[in-house]
Symmetry: C2
Subunit: 380 residues, 2 copies
């Protein structure tokens, strides 16, 4: 059973008369038969808590600098209309009591805490987002990560890896962008996809009649983070359990390309991509397009402390070595707001063993709730 957490905040123009305000609200809490405790706030304004029936719990704070915050926690089964009435009554009363002194009233949609279906998936730049998720479709812990496929009412099924929104069935713009935004001719070309376990790129690429697509899945770094605070600078890897989940539940994204690991013009290698790339270099095998769908640019900008940057550089170096002189390398960057990390990545591009140039594009990927940067890289 979940808890709904309501907030009602009043930003005041000037500190208000605490005792008049508290006295004015008393009747509302008494009517609700809530038991009040006034706390010693150690000089930080007025602070009272209220325990009500049915597990209700409220907090009233009047900060000395002119902010009034009210919290109400209710159990999931608590009647929403009744709770709304309580909040409406409180808001109305406060408007009367603080008439003329209110700069802003803010009442947010209730935060739902501990529900079976978790709707909160922050953006890469750390902002709180509530999705319209109504069902957990698939959930597995692989050796490498936690894999979820959740159903969003508007975005369709969404792949979430270690808490990061990876791709939803609505996210054709992601696939388009990481394939060169429709400006490339794939016909007869040799294509290498690194990652891409949701099958979206492969599904689009096979339609374009390339000579051969080689897709290499990797699976070699253990990831243990589960919380928002930890997920900073953790790369996201795709593994076989991802392929299994997407094959079944992301068919709008992958079509039938994941049903077999080998098709007319493609082959999926479920292997660590680094030795595979090294083998290709040895063999002198070359590609017209290399599409790196492995991992976003790390959020951390301290490359020397972050093995993800080293990994990124290794993949880049190897990829450029298997790229034909006329070829193109496509990859995602990160969200547009992480400007420091993106600059760091662009600096890295200037330090590769082979000289490259790049262009970038900012794209709106529907389920991401933030603009995303994509890079095109080519040999100078």
């Amino acid at each position: 059973m979940a808890v709904r957490h309501y907030t009602l905040d009043l930003k005041l123009r000037a500190p208000a008369d605490v005792s008049a305000t508290v006295r004015g609200l008393q009747s509302i809490f008494q009517e609700q038969e809530m038991t009040e405790t006034v706390h010693d706030s150690e000089g930080h304004g007025y602070l009272a808590t209220f325990v009500g029936k049915n597990g209700r719990f409220a907090i009233l704070r009047m900060h000395s600098h002119g902010l009034l915050t009210f919290d109400l926690q209710c159990l999931e089964g608590d009647e929403e209309a009744q709770v709304d009435n309580l909040l409406n009554a409180l808001e109305k009363k406060l408007k009367t009591l603080l008439d003329g002194n209110i700069q802003r009233i803010k009442r947010l949609p209730a935060l739902v805490r501990g529900s079976d279906v978790d709707r909160y998936w922050p953006t890469a730049d750390g902002r709180l987002m509530e999705y319209d998720i109504d069902e957990v479709v698939y959930e597995k812990d692989s050796d490498y990560q936690n894999i979820k496929i959740l159903h969003s009412r508007q975005f369709g099924n969404m792949l979430i890896l270690n808490g990061d929104v990876n791709l939803a069935e609505s996210d054709q713009p992601y696939t388009e962008a990481i394939m060169g935004s429709g400006k490339e001719n794939y016909a007869g070309k040799e294509v290498l996809i690194l990652g891409g376990g949701d099958g979206g790129i492969l599904h689009e690429a096979v339609k374009l009649k390339p000579k051969m697509i080689t897709m290499v899945e990797i699976s070699f770094m253990r990831i243990t983070s589960t919380t928002v605070a930890d997920h900073q600078s953790v790369p996201v890897y795709i593994d076989e359990l991802v392929i299994n989940g997407c094959r079944k539940h992301m068919r709008k994204t992958c079509g039938n390309v994941l049903d077999n690991l080998k098709g007319d013009c493609y082959e999926i290698l479920v292997q660590d991509c680094v030795p595979v790339l090294k083998k290709f270099v040895e063999q002198g095998r070359m590609f017209d397009y290399v599409i790196n769908d492995l991992t976003a640019v790390p959020i951390s900008t301290a490359p020397e402390e972050d093995s993800t940057w080293e990994f990124l550089r290794l993949i880049l170096d190897l990829s450029i070595r298997v790229l034909r002189p006329s070829g193109k390398y496509f990859t995602q960057g990160n969200c547009a707001n992480l400007t420091d990390a993106l600059s760091e990545y662009e600096n890295l591009l200037g330090r590769l063993s082979c000289k490259v140039d790049f262009s970038k594009e900012v794209v709106c990927v529907p389920s991401y709730m933030e603009l995303w940067v994509f890079y095109t890289i080519w040999k100078k």
Copy 2:
């Protein structure tokens, strides 16, 4: 001064041993010199509050059904690293104490309450969204509504009317969709825009060499809501103060078309559109395109109780009467999730005095954080 509100929730597989857990956490709160109050929860699990230094206030609840919630409110000036340390210590300790019994740990980005720049603007379907807003660029209360232009790092300046995100400088897809998604030929045509005070449609339309564009602003219904709870089914009107704000601060959207109310091929009438439409009907004036950018389809689905539906029908009826037989009427619907309201609107289309057909398109408008439905309507 704002308050940062942190949450840390543990969903448990089975109810935990309360006294062992509480005892295990004690040292953390003691170290923080927090004063504990244990509340009588009236049979709804364990509930304790903690008052700390510097205005810190924490709540620990262990619900009998196996959910542990922790809240920590801090003043804005409180050192973030210290707060993170406290939460990390708590999370680590809880992981040890509840080892094997944890189904999910959720730590959300802190909710910032009462800050000068409000970053929370819910979607039309009522979900909590945190925007990357860093500046209030323009704020006015007109006779009709509260008008804000806020700066988003990624979306540019955003127009917010009565708390509803209206349009950001990033939202070219909105303008494209409400003009027929690039499939129309505006050259030499007569165009009527209803609303559109941000100037986005007008700016795009003048580029397409139409014969004449008439844009009619309306300004006749007083709106008083300011909170999320109230904003249901309140139409959004554009008024002169909107034009003033957008002219200055949304130039990526409107270019220079709002600098003058009259241009080579356009005229802006700052008038109530209903009498203007009635006059056009009387005069027998006809248009090739009517673009209704006035208001989204109301959220309420009880048309008989909602004057907005009546208004919508009136505008529709009048618009269809000034539409050439070969003409098209474009309008926004609402977010894709409000299926009941959209169905109601489609039913309304079947009950107009003139028979019409329609098509619809679902579009991703970057700053909306939800997919949006657009309609094209034509005479049968």
